[in-house]
């Protein structure tokens, strides 16, 4: 079995994992970065713009994606899953499974001829199922690495991709391979998922075609989105009236999610401003319990949205149903006026919250009460888990936005660096690591 020795293993190639890997690599440590998807980039590469600056997400993310792939101290392993973590106290052995791409990664040039030849079209998970790609494809246009992957569950085994590949990279003989990484420290940056849309029956449980989640709206607003514009997915109409339902997956005892997800107010405000730019005639209404704008420049961003004409209505949405033409009807209790009203919209966005992405058990960690990684000293060292030598970055530790994910990623890298030095007596001179 192949074995690799590194100073730090970073699990997860989203914005937090990439930042941690780059910080550690820049300090001269040998780093392995393991990502379960065929490309790094995480959720952030699917987003349109960031708040509160409205900078393009791709413009921030793609340089980091490229940097981790080309960094001399970082070994990048995409389409790999961590299976098990053995050892303790600075001597970890991590078992990793390389999933078969059915494409030889060493010779694939990313030309996409296989993709264009593949006859079958499947829902694109990059576009939340609303767009499409082929069973064999480069995952998305800015994917890193630019290597095709074949989805065997949708493959006809017709061999057309194999015939058209100019370098003979399609390889049906690949099988899963397990390899081991020996490492002194581990940083978990395994990210988040959105709260389950089907859990809230009062809001249609995900069955209403014109009630969408915020990551779908991100794809509509992105230039590479599935429709190339904002359309409602039920029938392709350009929406004129759009509602946001805040706290649709957070601060809700009925869902067992009592915490605030910390990002929903800001992404709803951001999306409403972007919609105003994309659809100048659109009227956006945000139904909210409280608006929480705690970060640098966030309150001003909120005030700007109000000045642009976004309507903020204080109230708790009780239910969402649809009329015979699939227009969503929002029934809301206006808490300041003490009455209940119903309003019909073209499109409704549920401001879903965040839950932990990948289970923690294989890393030997127990979740905290909120389901995220347990952080025993959250005020003094919010990167430290219950297992010495295992650190956490980004949303694996709790809900947070991109700014805070990057801050915690650099904090985790710093803590991991100190830990590695305490365990291996590493001395760093001129950026190189030497063991003494």
């Amino acid at each position: 079995m192949t074995k690799i020795h590194v100073d730090a293993l970073v699990v997860g190639g989203g914005i937090a994992g990439m930042q941690t890997a780059l910080d550690l690599g820049d300090q001269g440590y040998q780093v392995a970065l393991v990502e379960k998807e065929p490309s790094v980039g995480g959720k952030m590469i699917t987003l349109s713009k960031v708040f509160p600056t409205l900078d393009c997400c791709s413009c921030i993310t793609t340089p980091k994606m490229s940097a981790v792939a080309h960094h001399p101290k970082i070994q990048l392993f995409t389409y790999c899953e961590v299976d098990r973590v053995d050892g303790q106290d600075g001597e970890f052995t991590v078992s990793v499974v390389q999933k078969p791409r059915y494409v030889n990664a060493d010779i694939c040039t990313g030309c996409r001829l296989c993709e264009y030849e593949c006859p079958i079209t499947v829902p694109s998970m990059f576009d939340r199922g609303l767009g499409s790609y082929h069973a064999v494809r480069v995952p998305f246009s800015t994917a890193v690495p630019q290597i095709a992957v074949l989805d065997i569950e949708y493959c006809l085994l017709c061999g057309k991709c194999e015939k058209v590949c100019p370098v003979g990279a399609v390889d049906f003989t690949q099988t899963p391979e397990t390899f081991e990484i020996d490492t002194t420290s581990i940083v978990l940056a395994t990210g988040f998922e959105m709260t389950d849309v089907s859990a809230k029956k009062e809001y249609g449980a995900g069955r209403l075609s014109n009630v969408i989640d915020p990551l779908m709206m991100e794809r509509f607003l992105a230039p590479t989105g599935p429709y190339g514009r904002v359309l409602r997915p039920g029938d392709g109409m350009e929406p004129t009236t759009i509602a946001y339902v805040q706290c649709a997956g957070s601060r809700d005892e009925t869902l067992g999610i009592e915490y605030c997800s910390r990002t929903c107010c800001m992404y709803a405000i951001k999306q409403s401003m972007l919609i105003s730019g994309a659809l100048p005639l659109a009227e956006v209404t945000i139904f909210y319990m409280d608006i929480r704008t705690f970060g640098k420049g966030y309150e001003q961003f909120y005030q700007n949205a109000k000045a642009m004409g976004v309507e903020f209505v204080r109230g708790k949405v009780a239910s969402i149903q649809e009329d015979e033409n699939h227009y969503p009807i929002v029934r809301v209790e206006l808490t300041e006026e003490g009455r209940v009203v119903e309003r019909t919209f073209d499109l409704v966005v549920l401001s879903l919250g965040m839950v932990l992405g990948d289970p923690l058990a294989r890393f030997g960690l127990q979740p905290a009460e909120d389901g995220f990684a347990s952080l025993p000293s959250v005020n003094a060292s919010p990167w430290a888990t219950t297992r010495p030598g295992v650190f956490v970055a980004g949303t694996a530790g709790g809900p947070m936005d991109i700014v805070d994910s990057i801050v915690t990623a650099s904090a985790a890298a710093s803590a991991a660096s100190a830990y590695i030095r305490s365990k291996t007596q590493v001395s760093i001179e001129e950026g190189e690591v030497a063991y003494v």
Binding site: Q98, T121, L130, S132, Y154, P176, E177, P233, G236, M237
Partner: protein, 99 residues
């Protein structure tokens, strides 16, 4: 990138094994392909001469509008269909010129 292990079986033997292991998904995908080809032909025929909206195509073909939009998004991505103006709040789609 970790080089993926290759089976000691030959390509032919491996394909045979994959067909046996994934027989169910291959059959399901074959049905899906037949359906996709049928829809592609019908949609392209419908919008060859005249650009139409999603609800118009859906009504003509007896399909769900959401499904028509998914197909049109796919056809647009791969250059089979182009947008051609608006009809009210709905974009119009027409079959792209043959290259």
């Amino acid at each position: 990138m970790m080089p993926t292990e290759t089976s000691s079986l030959s390509r032919g033997e491996m394909l045979k094994r994959l067909r046996a292991e994934h027989g169910e998904s291959v059959e399901r995908t074959q049905q899906l392909l037949r359906e996709q080809k049928r829809v592609q032909q019908e949609v392209c025929k419908s919008i060859r001469e005249k650009a139409k909206t999603v609800p118009e195509i859906a009504e003509e073909l007896g399909m769900k509008p959401a499904d028509v939009l998914w197909y049109l998004a796919s056809f647009r991505k791969y250059g089979l269909v182009v947008e051609e103006g608006m009809c009210g709040d709905y974009p119009l789609y027409r079959k792209a010129e043959e290259k």
